[in-house]
């Protein structure tokens, strides 16, 4: 399956975006993780905290970035 927001036909959805926490305030997400998928594109998201720099934008901002694109 080519990862795009315009698949040509209906099919059983393939879960090819995978997110895992890698610390208390950071999540690593891989887009296009499945075999045959286009990608992969990694994203780091983070949340504001007192102890460290934020590794990436908060998840809501990543969703809005997709909207902006």
């Amino acid at each position: 399956m080519i990862l795009d927001d315009s698949p040509a036909a209906a099919s059983q959805p393939q879960r090819n975006i995978i997110a895992r926490p890698v610390g208390e305030d950071t999540v690593l997400t891989l887009v296009g993780a499945g075999a045959g998928s286009r990608g992969p594109w990694p994203f780091v998201t983070g949340i504001p905290n007192l102890t460290s720099d934020v590794g990436g934008p908060p998840p809501q901002y990543l969703a809005v970035a997709g909207w902006a694109a």
Partner: protein, 266 residues
């Protein structure tokens, strides 16, 4: 919008978009809202401006966040191996209590990269091209900034818009579960895994047709929660109760993220 303009013969020369992001109270959770300003460049009639404004709101990602257009099918797989369907959540299930991170105010600025548009040998546009996106948020002590690229390119140099938004949803889900689930004695946050996928029909042409016409197209998504423990130590109802509070899941369910929008023609 570039695709809608191209298909409609609208002389759109350039486009920029700004979103101001702010926290918004939602029943039982923390939501977020956006104020959008789209700047169009070109010799556009009022009708063309209105058409592009509608396209901005009814693009696939915009629909998901503003119209409640996502239909989500959840399942849970425990580290012990069992798998169960987790949607719909039981009626009357109370959202799980606990502290979620505050959504810091900030902004998202998108600039269209004109020279990334792609054409076939007949001069027809095959890919709308990419956008450069600046994200700015307040950390607790200072401002943080990031640059992303997303869009449509034949060689997949950048992630398309909807998968980028879905990555945000997956990350939001992982963040919410890591903060709310009672993991002590069962596992740790790093044992959590969120997998999402989406099923749509009709392709990009239909998506752009829907955007141009202001039609809401429901999209089906699947989400699998990989959880530590067993159905006894981490009951599915607890996971469902936590998911009820996830900010992007709430937006997908209820829409309403768009607080204000303006379209300016230069």
């Amino acid at each position: 919008m570039v695709g809608v303009a191209y298909r409609g013969g609208i002389p759109l020369e350039d486009i920029e978009v700004d979103f101001e992001v702010e926290p918004v109270e939602r029943a039982g959770s923390i939501g977020f809202g956006v104020r959008e300003v789209v700047r169009l460049k070109g010799n556009l009639s009022e009708m063309e401006r209105v058409r592009l404004q509608r396209a901005a709101r009814f693009c696939p990602v915009g629909q998901a966040l503003t119209q409640g257009a996502m239909v989500v099918e959840d399942e849970v797989q425990w580290s012990s191996g069992e798998v169960t369907a987790a949607s719909p959540a039981p009626e009357g299930l109370r959202p799980l209590e606990g502290n979620l991170p505050v959504i810091a105010p900030g902004s998202v600025h998108g600039s269209y990269l004109l020279d990334t548009k792609e054409y076939d040998e007949n001069g027809g546009m095959t890919d709308e091209g990419e956008a450069k996106i600046y994200v700015t948020t307040q950390n607790l002590t200072h401002t943080s900034r990031w640059t992303l690229v997303a869009g449509h390119s034949s060689n997949g140099w950048a992630p398309p818009p909807f998968p980028t938004a879905q990555a945000g949803w997956a990350a939001s889900t992982a963040t919410t579960l890591s903060r709310l689930l009672p993991l002590e004695g069962v596992g740790s946050a790093t044992d959590l895994r969120v997998e999402v996928g989406m099923n749509v029909t009709g392709g990009r042409d239909q998506a752009q047709g829907n955007a141009a016409a202001g039609r809401v197209a429901h999209r089906n998504a699947v989400r699998r929660i990989g959880a530590p423990g067993t159905p006894r130590t981490m009951p599915v109802e607890v996971i469902q109760a936590a998911l009820l509070r996830d900010p992007i899941s709430i937006a997908y369910r209820e829409g309403g993220v768009l607080l204000d929008e303006q379209v300016v023609v230069d």
